[in-house]
Symmetry: C2
Subunit: 406 residues, 2 copies
């Protein structure tokens, strides 16, 4: 089936011709509305006319950046990787990934569960809402997906086959290389230059060579360290939550990269929400919950990851009879420390890039009072710099928490 | 052109039908003889009947391990990677790679320059011969091929495309994972069990958990650290030399892996030759030359690698204006130290595996006197263990040399 771009007028007809969608809606008539929040893709909410609670999300990539228009070409192959990643993650951690009703790499089309009872995690956090089961959920999701796509679980040929399925996700990996690790650390046309001009913090960061050397060290890890299949863009806008459920969405940046990158991305976003509330709302209950959530997420992730590892006798890395069980424990401990350190380093990079880079987070860039915003940016950079400069000397979760509290 | 296995009776006819081979031999009649030293493949020397100095080497992979027979299947795809690697390396370092006259991935066939005036480097070294230009050559070869296939030289998409061309070389990568990093450290049916039985050194190694934890750390790097396109099996049997020339051959293990793996493989082989002469021949001139060669190789490699880097303004890693030139120097220094440390670690693994693993080196396993052989093995392990346990604390080439001299 050759690719063609669908629109609000053609989407329902098109979907009605697909067996899996017929199975979902039966003989019901359906209608579609466009959901405006996709930067990259067209996203439609498709419902049964007689019962709007029966609904799916249809997402199609176009061969350009939706938010910027046809003048900004971006290969629609990104949807290929989103489909592949979503299916891989769904198989490994079904509770935390939306149901997939239909997908077509040729049509760059994905039809999946409508999460009508959930909100974007960032939005909830900005409103000061707490999600008591989040740490439990996200630690399970990350432990399962990262462990089971790594050489600690897969056999050698399975791991290389997995890499193969994602290694051509070049354009989006390059976006991260440029917009996370490079441009935000220097004068660049893509930066938030309205804020950069005459800003002493920007001047300081752009001249901070010791910091940039370390950022490049982490960029190099991002480019070359093939630990596991990552979401690749695991910020609080890529999570949908409510009191009882947590879902990961939008994994179009997926590729095989360093363990610490996803966890670091999440950590950086939680910290930026903490700074937001520290400086803007002074909501102490929420701040306390955030600290606990960070602590729990990191602790539970490590615990669950090691438990999966303990249950694995044979993988590309290890076979029975090679190490004693005590020795395996030593090895695991050092390995987990390495993941924690990378997590801290990547969290630092991901925080720093939000200050002057092209894409800010609402938590900081959305602060309307310029003085408060500058104060928040200052605080983001202090933590980010500490993380980046000393990530490989961080030994524990409590050290991370101490730095966040300042 | 569908695959068919050639043999001594069909090879000349087949080659005569290929335009590139016609261009080489003109209208001369050709004849072939089988060269018996290929473990994996069939290798033929093909000459003009009237002038045997006009000759080529034709190499064809069969879908099994040649040395073991059809009962030991091994995908002939290995020749695909040998062809791709040889062509890539030839383009980057033409002086150190044989000319390629013809290749066919479909036929798993490679026709290349006959190095009739050269000997296998290991053979020369065992005879106590010295090759005054070797360090100069091999350092150029490694600097050029490793630098130009890394993210320090390539753009992001070029690097991922390169990885793509080699990422399915699964079977041979797995051989290394198993036979270098795993089986030689434990009781295993594939080991040189005639020597293992009742051997206190074997008993010691197999029980040395601290050592094996570190070997696994390096195995993990081998599996996941995608620095550059490696030869993948750079021992002294993969090099053909004479007084004035050095050629790399047999890169069928090629894949994108850690910089230090090839350099470490070479280092380990030079050290084992040093130990051979120390214990068997007492040839002090040769030992001195080996030490100088190791020193020069490592020093010149780093020098040339950095020179190529200095001449590179833009790559996946860096763009102009990001770092000051002083800062780039700091970054490079730390980076090169990382390569040196990995080199030492991998050299240690590669030495240790030669003691009891399936494939020994003649330098050690060929020592006929059992007492001398045991003494050599002891010495190999002493250095190997030091390297593996302390690779990430090694700061300089002189430290490496001190450890070799013992």
């Amino acid at each position: 089936m050759a690719y063609r771009a669908l629109d609000i007028d053609s989407i329902c007809d098109y979907l009605s011709g697909i067996e899996e969608i017929q199975a979902f809606f039966g003989t019901e008539e359906i209608e579609a509305s466009e959901i405006g929040d996709g930067n990259l893709n067209f996203v439609y909410l498709v419902r049964a006319v007689s019962d709007p609670s029966r609904a799916v999300i249809a997402k199609q990539a176009v061969p350009y950046l939706r938010i910027a228009g046809e003048g900004f070409p971006l290969s629609r192959e990104r949807m290929t990787y989103e489909i592949r990643a979503l299916r891989t993650f769904k198989a490994l951690a079904p509770d935390y990934v939306p149901d997939i009703y239909y997908s077509s790499e040729e049509m760059s089309l994905l039809v999946m569960e409508y999460l009508g009872d959930h909100v974007i995690f960032r939005t909830g956090l900005l409103e000061g809402r707490q999600y008591p089961r989040f740490a439990e959920h996200i630690s399970s999701y990350m432990a399962k997906t990262l462990f089971h796509t790594s050489s600690l679980s897969l056999e050698s040929s399975e791991k290389r086959a997995l890499m193969d399925r994602f290694s051509a996700n070049t354009q989006l990996c390059k976006l991260t290389e440029d917009f996370v690790f490079t441009f935000p650390c220097m004068e660049h046309e893509t930066n938030d230059n309205g804020n950069v001009k005459g800003n002493p913090l920007a001047e300081m960061i752009f001249a901070d060579m010791a910091f940039k050397e370390r950022v490049l060290e982490l960029k190099y890890k991002f480019m070359t360290q093939a630990d596991a299949l990552l979401h690749g863009d695991m910020h609080t806008g890529s999570l949908m939550v409510n009191e009882v459920e947590t879902y990961m969405i939008d994994p179009e940046f997926a590729f095989v990269g360093p363990f610490g990158f996803d966890i670091g991305a999440l950590l950086s976003n939680l910290i930026q929400n903490y700074i937001h509330h520290d400086i803007v709302t002074g909501n102490e209950t929420h701040k306390l919950w955030l600290i606990e959530t960070i602590e729990e997420t990191l602790r539970l992730f490590a615990q669950k990851f090691v438990a999966l590892w303990d249950a694995t006798e044979r993988s590309a890395l290890m076979i029975p009879g090679l190490l004693s069980s005590e020795s395996k424990k030593n090895y695991q401990q050092k390995f987990m420390q390495g993941i924690l350190q990378d997590t801290v380093g990547f969290a630092g990079c991901k925080m720093a890039r939000r200050i002057f880079g092209i894409a800010g987070v609402t938590d900081i860039r959305g602060i309307e009072d310029p003085a408060l915003r500058a104060q928040a940016e200052q605080r983001v950079f202090e933590i980010a710099r500490g993380f980046v400069m000393e990530y490989d000397r961080i030994g524990s979760v409590s050290e991370i928490i101490k730095r966040i509290k300042g």
